[in-house]
């Protein structure tokens, strides 16, 4: 066993840190640490990363990929999180990019991949529907072939940051008579300026509107915007599941939140001294600390296994336990702030609260927002089902 990074890995890590901390502006990283990242922050950050060849390292080499070792990929995901760099937009770099690179036509690759890497195109995800959440294959949006286009009708929901979307990748039903619900689905690329699209923002419990509903009323999608083969959309969507799992446990993010809270605690007064000396706080922090150590060790085991060419079945575990740990830390942050952390806005909905650059002030908004972590990307209940079925054989 060996608990040290190699000299090469340290050089690699330091090179990343150089770009992340010198090139990505500090205020962008600061806002990201407070979950107050703007659209412009995400665009600016991804373009900086792309200019340094660091936006799409997991794509095929001809489209900007890096062929990193599993250890390097782990370091990359971890350092992005530890340094509060806004993640490259997942819809672009982890979802549609790899799908087009794997299944798209040459024309689609040329048209979309460079612009997707540079976030010149902002992609939205058109998967979930009101009656198709965890049970995605039950989706009802239809795409009827009509001449040289598909006609899209239906509704998508939970479209994260869809208000900024230039294009949307849509999973729609092209064969309503297919014998199984997973069959008869197709993967379409939709220009959001097409007539017939209506967006409605969904107001969230934390005062944000980062998710949306979209309604399609006879929206025409040119047939050349079909990805791969008609009725094979489910297999492309499933391809995503086996894709990039580094960073899924958000350990780097949790380490950063832990560091920030541990440092701040010395200056947070209690009736008898400082929060840093409060036994209850220290007990909670110790529990978070050991959980993070165990999670990181698990991540290292997974990375080590993939260095040896073995797949590890524990990504469900990492997703579930990693996000629980981060949620727990955001709760500790909120308890540390108490009423100071309760301010959602000042001067009206959508406005920042006073002192919005203070982690103490936005603690409740962040806590409430992070409830999403155990719901999206396969809820914890789905993950338990996956563990039971694929690992325990139950």
């Amino acid at each position: 066993m060996d608990l040290e990074l190699s000299r090469e890995d340290i050089e690699f890590r330091d090179g990343l840190r150089e770009v992340f901390t010198r090139e990505v502006p500090e205020e962008v990283r600061r806002r990201n640490a407070l979950s107050r990242t703007t659209r412009d922050d995400i665009v600016a950050s991804q373009r900086i990363l792309n200019a340094h060849g660091l936006a799409v390292p997991h794509w095929p080499v001809e489209w900007g990929g890096k062929e990193w070792t599993p250890t390097q990929s782990h370091i990359y995901a971890s350092e992005l999180q530890r340094n509060s760099v806004p993640q490259p937009l997942a819809f672009n770099v982890s979802m549609i990019g790899p799908i087009i690179a794997e299944f798209g036509s040459e024309e689609q690759k040329r048209q979309f991949l460079p612009a997707t890497a540079n976030l010149d195109i902002w992609w939205s995800q058109g998967f979930s529907e009101p009656e198709a959440g965890s049970d995605l294959a039950s989706l009802r949006t239809t795409a009827r072939r009509d001449g040289d286009s598909y006609v899209l009708n239906g509704q998508k929901t939970w479209t994260t940051l869809g208000q900024y979307g230039d294009w949307m990748f849509v999973l729609a039903r092209t064969d309503p008579d297919a014998p199984r619900k997973q069959q008869g689905l197709s993967f379409l690329l939709l220009d959001m300026t097409t007539p017939g699209i209506e967006r409605r923002p969904i107001d969230l419990v934390d005062g944000s509107d980062e998710v949306n509903e979209f309604f399609f009323d006879n929206v025409r999608v040119p047939a050349e915007n079909l990805v791969g083969e008609e009725n094979q959309g489910w297999s492309y969507a499933k391809f995503l599941l086996g894709n990039e799992r580094n960073g899924i446990a958000q350990i780097g993010t949790s380490q950063r939140v832990f560091a920030d809270l541990a440092e701040t605690a010395a200056d947070i007064p209690t009736e008898t001294g400082a929060l840093a000396d409060d036994p209850q706080f220290r007990t909670s922090m110790h529990s978070a600390r050991t959980t993070l150590l165990a999670l990181e060790a698990t991540q290292l085991r997974v990375t080590g296994a993939s260095e040896n060419g073995q797949a590890s079945p524990v990504s469900s575990l990492l997703k579930m336990e990693g996000t629980k740990a981060l949620q727990e830390l955001s709760k500790l942050r909120m308890h540390a702030s108490a009423e100071d952390g309760m301010l959602l806005d000042a001067g009206g909905p959508g406005e920042d609260p006073l002192r919005a650059d203070d982690a103490a002030v936005v603690a409740a908004a962040q806590y409430l927002n992070q409830r999403k972590l155990s719901i999206f990307g396969g809820s914890n209940e789905i993950q338990r089902g996956v563990i039971a079925k694929t690992i325990l054989g139950l």
């Binding site: 990074l5 110790h286 150590l293 080590g304």
Partner: protein, 385 residues
């Protein structure tokens, strides 16, 4: 960076796994612990033949001079079968104390016999009503001719009934030391019984019992004791992982096979999801135990790490998982899980005893929470701050 066994360590695990597995059929722990020895004689002999009693002992004293990962592989395999052989209590822990504290003559006297598996030594530290970390109330007094006698009570002393020698912690003139006592010495009164994990444990009273200090000149007994106990707290986690994995496997099988309301229990999602949560806890605990083991190995290689703090962190985390697994495995089995005959009861009993061993989980948590490391940013790698 690597938290896996190498090929030799894998082979070691497989060898111990199959050797112990043969000696421990279903219900094996109940039978082994109710024997006069308190463990299985055949399995012990096999372990000794494989050289495992000498794992932590240097080559010059007839041992294998192996590291913490070999200890881990061996003890995880024992745990998998809920085996009762006292490798850790009766050999590894005393070997660390003797190597760390003893004179060369004492090392010569005890270590080769331990390495052969010819004898076991009991470490007597726990005392009734006294916190593990406090100075012992057993006293050592020295007369004019230099001879030393011990007075006081130790309990529980694990496997004292079979030990040829006891290593007893005691205070002499305000200083804690470790003393060698022959099991047959005058002035010892031993009351034998069983511990919660069904293994043998005794109360041992010393009334002017002749003893010899385990002391090479200039060695601080407290430091060596703390380090040896820290090593033991990490080592026992390997057994814990083996026990937890087995308890979960038995529970999963039970959910598949047991029928109520005309259907297998695995039909009920409420139960299945609890098994999934247990799986997550076991795997995280395994990662923690492997990480702590790798950290001890790094410390042996000269890395500057705080062994006691790492042992506490790992013991608390894995111990919490052990409690959860023990409770849930019994609960998911229902009443049958509480019976002496049920496999899962063996695991639950041993897991329960482990969480209270070496001072117990609550004390470990108190130390960890009070330590400055409680608020230190966690990083599993040593050079990745």
């Amino acid at each position: 960076m690597n938290l896996d066994f190498n090929e030799d360590q894998k082979l070691l695990f497989d060898t111990v796994d199959s050797a112990v597995g043969r000696g421990y059929p279903a219900g094996g722990r109940a039978e082994a612990t109710s024997s006069e020895l308190g463990w299985d004689e055949g399995v012990w002999k096999t372990l000794a033949e494989l050289g495992l009693a000498g794992l932590t002992i240097s080559g010059e004293h007839g041992g294998a001079d192996a590291g913490p990962v070999e200890v881990y592989a061996t003890l995880e395999a024992l745990g998998k079968h809920a085996a009762a052989e006292p490798l850790l209590d009766g050999v590894f822990l005393p070997s660390w104390l003797i190597a760390g504290l003893g004179t060369e003559e004492q090392a010569e006297q005890f270590l080769p016999a331990l390495a052969e598996g010819a004898t076991t030594i009991a470490v007597a530290h726990a005392e009734p009503g006294r916190p593990w970390g406090s100075a012992p109330s057993v006293t050592a007094s020295r007369s004019g001719d230099g001879s030393v006698v011990l007075t006081g009570v130790k309990s529980p002393v694990r496997h004292a009934d079979q030990a040829s020698t006891l290593l007893v912690t005691a205070v002499e003139g305000g200083t804690t030391g470790v003393y060698v006592v022959d099991a047959g010495a005058a002035g010892i009164a031993r009351t034998d019984g069983r511990s919660a994990d069904w293994s043998h444990a005794s109360q041992v009273e010393f009334a002017g019992t002749p003893a010899t200090p385990l002391a090479a000149a200039g060695v601080d007994a407290t430091t060596v004791l703390h380090t040896a106990f820290a090593r033991a707290r990490v080592a026992v986690l390997a057994e814990t992982v083996g026990l937890m994995e087995s308890a979960l496997a038995h529970t999963v099988e039970y959910l598949k096979n047991r029928k109520q309301f005309g259907v297998p229990l695995a039909t009920f999602q409420a139960l299945v999801h609890r098994a999934s949560d247990l799986y997550a806890r076991v795997e995280l605990a395994r990662s923690m135990a492997l990480w702590a083991t790798a950290t001890v190995e790094a410390a042996d290689g000269g890395a500057g790490v705080d062994l006691a703090a790492i042992a506490d962190d790992a013991f608390v985390f894995v111990g919490d998982a052990a409690t959860a697994v023990a409770e849930e495995a019994v609960q998911l089995h229902g009443g049958i899980g509480m019976t002496y005959e049920a496999e899962v009861a063996h695991h639950a009993a041993r897991l329960t005893a482990i969480t209270e061993s070496f001072g117990g989980i609550a004390a470990a948590r108190r130390r960890a929470v009070a330590s400055e490391s409680a608020l230190r940013v966690p990083s599993a790698l040593l050079n990745n701050a």
